[in-house]
Amino acid sequence: MAIDPERVERVLAVMVDAAEGNYETRVPLSDVEDEMLEIEVGINFLLDELTHQRARNESHQRALVAALSTPIIVLWPGVLALPLIGHFDRGRAMEVTATLLARVRAERASHVILDLTGLAELAGDTMPALLRMVQAMRLLGARCLLTGMHPRSAQQVVELGIELRGVPTLAQVSDALAQVMSEKGVFKTGT
């Protein structure tokens, strides 16, 4: 079978694209009945499959990242804890707030402990975003407590003139839990 060099060239170009991660190009087909056409169609089918697999993997990855970035823990019936990790800006605050609000409602939570130990340095919009989150929780009847604030972050809060009125700040999650337990009358602080 004599193969048209131009067709081979077109197939190779599509394969080079695919090797570089571009699965969108397809081998152009012409109505010529030969074995080469079967190969060209087969490559296009393969690329369809790769495109589909990649989209599915990306979707799984997004879901996984979303789940890992909002690891809400039930410490006690009605008491949730959320360790915040990495960079926390307005966009992430909106995602986290939506997930957290749903959990607060589902668990009928009365308290939410937001642990900032894993947060990178506070960006300019981190504290306002956090406070909006706290207000949203309050509207659902849940009280927020902040723990694990770094000394530098505390300094930033002061420098930015942000008021944390009504939002208890404690050193560790265990301190916050003890305070909540005390408020709930489960056990007294310091005992």
Binding site: L29, S30, E33, L37, E40, V41, E49, H52
Partner: protein, 127 residues
Amino acid sequence: MPFRFTEKTTESGARYLRVDAEGRVSLDDAKEFQSWVMRPEWHLGLIMSVVGKGTAYDRDARKVFQTLNEHITALATVVTSPIVRAAINMMLRLARSRGTTPLRMFTSEEEALRWLESRRGDVPPRP
């Protein structure tokens, strides 16, 4: 809709479902085909599919066709376009892992009908 379904009978009295296909076949179209195949009057029946030039199958649609092997006694596919034939060939290769395929390709309707009639005895009796 790229499919048109017609109930037919050959000169010798064999009932078959004729499906004319043209254009882009989506997942919904494939599901419609599947629903026809699963109807009690056509399940394990004879089907003749006449596939027009330029017919193309979306990836999700192909997956549905690959599951239909065990529900069809004979599927005679009349196809004149080499591109469409190559696409169906590839779908057949991918479906082979799911059992023997009941599909055969033809270039004329007469040939396809003759083959369907030859398979008439394999159709289970209707209740």
